[in-house]
Point group: C3
Chain length 356, copies 3
């Protein structure tokens, strides 16, 4: 006669969180060349800084730094079991920044602090706001962001009425010091792009021509690599009995695809400085083909003379060429059904003076 | 006019084996960071010892050792072309042990000795028993096991009547010396688990909540990575004309999934000391969702003070949540149709005194 | 009101090429252990030289060199965006050679020179002939080949009448110096093959028994890893409205599978010296099972005493066992519908005197 164990971790519910609570996420992760190759295989990403040690050295790095979005996934994945295992929805991100580069051999880990809690009036769920910080093995910050998720309550009867909602900046602040080596020259025959900071203008729209279809093995291999264990992405047997009827793709997959697809037109924007906000507007499933277009929202001068920043909005679409739509939202202010990501982020791009 | 070559290796038949015969399996394999990342992508495994160099160093290793089950697959795969290319069925394993850790950069190879032969009375097939030993580039043993497979005979007419069946121990013996560094402290905020040797009790059952669906690309990529060339796993064209009607998943895939899924509840049981026996009770195919539950069979004290051993039975199920079944076998003593693996193995887990 | 950007690279059209034009392909690529492991996962390749550092050192290398065909894909992929993004068809290859080995950590890049242009009489397209050279980070040649592709014209009205067609050698010339270490011994218990140069004869045909099914995730992961961005391989949404109705597999996938499958019978032919010509006779799609057979076309003695060369023709088939067909072409001189690759290449294989 077996005894059912109480050692299973079923994740946290709304009542398990308290303002100011600090959570050390388990599973520090050493990032390797295997992760880097898999990321290229998943996305087809072609940014030369992350493909070539020779290019990275010309920029002043010792070797290729890890793609910012890959590092995000590998670090972020750790927080799922503590924060969002019982999530009903990932509601938003804000103020994401990438303060320091990460290299193969580095080990990243993450801690989160609860900065807000808002119980829903139906008593069944609530929104948890966390501030998460990822560090490398030396304790240097490599990722810093805020996110909020709606999670189930255990007890639907009793209401606490808690309603502490933090405020977020509309965009991640730009610091005076950016931890990117001084760019002396950009070899355009290596990067594949001839355009620099000065060449872009606010309001310019880039219809990226590539469309990439994602299959079940692609997205589940990626999400497992990130050790993100949210069940909706993996368990087809369970999902068949939900309205979705199948495995839901991890939203981070779409961020990665959108970034990789944006290469064509933004080849020299090799550094993601910040993600200001992100919205997974509609779900994506295996078999969907991802397209993207980008709009230049803002041109930001920096005190450094070698680089500038572009604030970019990249819209990812499923099964629709970006040429076919003008706006991500319809006249009713709602996202069109084929819009799957609305990403507002800031990239660093060298100035013309660096062109070789 | 071409001449058909006789240089093709069609594998060994029952008559090709003799008692005492020694087979050096070709294809020594260097294990790399690429293999490690792929294994995480295949399984979603989250044991911190294999994810983080920082954790491994705290345990006294120079860097992350290779996951025991990955090492098993990479070494075992070499023996397929000699032992089981013409197998009708992989009947069983016994006394599997992992005497020494393996690291990236190590090269593993394997030899087998035939220790038993039993001709089937129908004259069409027989069972071959082998003792296989895997070593690293320095000749240190890293894998030691016995297995038996049923293989075809070439000649169905003549019977040799051979019937030499070895006996196996019910469990791999526990040695006085275990090649694991003395564990000084376990950082539970890294491992993700707060339970140690003393916390488990015999008869305790852990219903692991994760279910993971496996697709054709997942399992064929893994099995090709292991250079296991058994045709049933890869050749859909051939399998379509068999009763299975499709590619059969390599049983090792299920061992890996079961072990990865068992993380939730056994987070600190990071070392597989031995596999006592394994039974692939029913076949698995692409699209199946794998679940698992574990029972603590035995608690084994060791002369070392820092660690103990748990003998665990993990049952893997397809398309059924472990909460729904009590026993792996029905009243008739046969495995239920959704039970796909019955694995009896022994793990090393630190004692409470190491908790940090 | 957004302004459509002109910064998108839509690839070159026939009019964009001129005789003598030199193109430096962007995206130098550092090759890593991740790429090596993924290649084994894609192909199941078992050549011991590329699997084991121990074997590679016995041959006189510092470590495993990169599989020649993997290196080809990683280097070749770079040229797609400049040469064949608007290709109607990849018509052929010639004089492919692999002058120097490549190792993990090396960074490969490529330049091409236009050596021929032939406008089609319908005015809608033309054939571009290029000579491409890949080098490592030290400028040493690692790949040298010629290829020709049919690409669209922008202007269908005006004809230039250009018709400059280069001539190609029927086989890549064999040089006096081959950059392979002097082979002192071949350990047949490591390579898995007991046959050497002297054992093969012209006209001998090897029916390789393995068949391997390829799925969508397999081939798209591989082609993305190679950073080959030809749309036909990735965009199912776009391909659904073409006569193909689905994603077309990159022809290089079939070259890799054919080479990996040829292992059984050619285990000691571990070096591809040259590809003399290649023809993708019919398309392949997800779900197809690839088989292959090889014919020994020529035995080539070299002034070196340790090695010889075999000129081999490997025919890859889809969904048909090679035992079932005698010739790749029918009586009408056309390839049979299941023939998907006709590859004429030259391998280096040690002589019997090296056998250990």
């Amino acid at each position: 006669m077996s005894k059912i164990s109480n050692k299973i971790n079923f994740g946290n519910y709304f009542e398990d969180f308290s303002i100011g609570q600090k959570i050390v996420h388990p599973l520090p992760r050493t990032i390797s060349e295997g992760d880097v190759s898999l990321y290229i295989a998943f996305t087809g990403s072609r940014f030369s800084l992350h493909s070539s040690d020779v290019v990275a050295k010309e920029f002043g790095y010792e070797k290729r730094p890890i793609d910012d979005i890959l590092m995000f996934h590998l670090t972020f994945g750790k927080s799922v079991q503590d924060i969002s295992l019982n999530a009903i929805a990932n509601l938003g991100y804000a103020e994401i920044s990438f303060p320091n580069p990460v290299f193969t051999g580095d080990t990243v880990s993450m801690t989160s602090k609860v900065i807000g809690l808002k119980e829903n009036s139906n008593g069944k769920s609530g929104v948890v706001y966390v501030h998460s910080i990822g560090v490398n093995q030396n304790g240097n910050e490599v990722l810093n962001f805020k996110r909020w998720v709606m999670v189930h309550k255990k007890d639907h009867e009793n209401l606490s009425g808690i309603n502490e909602v933090p405020t977020f900046q509309k965009a991640t602040p730009i610091l005076d010091t950016i931890n990117i080596p001084t760019i002396k020259c950009v070899d355009v025959s290596a990067s594949g792009g001839v355009y620099f900071f000065e060449d872009y203008e606010v309001g310019e729209r880039l219809n990226h021509p590539e469309g990439i279809t994602i299959d079940n093995s692609d997205h589940t291999l990626a999400t497992k690599l990130y050790q993100n264990n949210a069940k909706v992405h993996f368990n087809d047997h369970m999902m068949k009995s939900t309205p979705m009827g199948q495995r839901l793709m991890y939203g981070g997959i779409i961020i990665s695809m959108a970034r990789a697809i944006s290469f064509n037109g933004l080849q020299n924007a090799q550094w993601v400085y910040a993600i200001n906000s992100g919205n997974h507007c509609n779900p994506t499933y295996a078999g969907d083909t991802i397209y993207a277009y980008s709009e230049i929202l803002e041109k930001i001068e920096h005190k450094r003379e070698d680089i500038g920043l572009l604030r970019v909005r990249t819209i990812a679409l499923k099964n629709q060429n970006p040429k076919e739509i003008e706006n991500a939202k319809g006249e009713d202010g709602k996202y069109l059904p084929n819009v799957v990501l609305d990403l507002d982020y800031t990239v660093v791009i060298p100035k013309k003076s660096t062109k070789k």
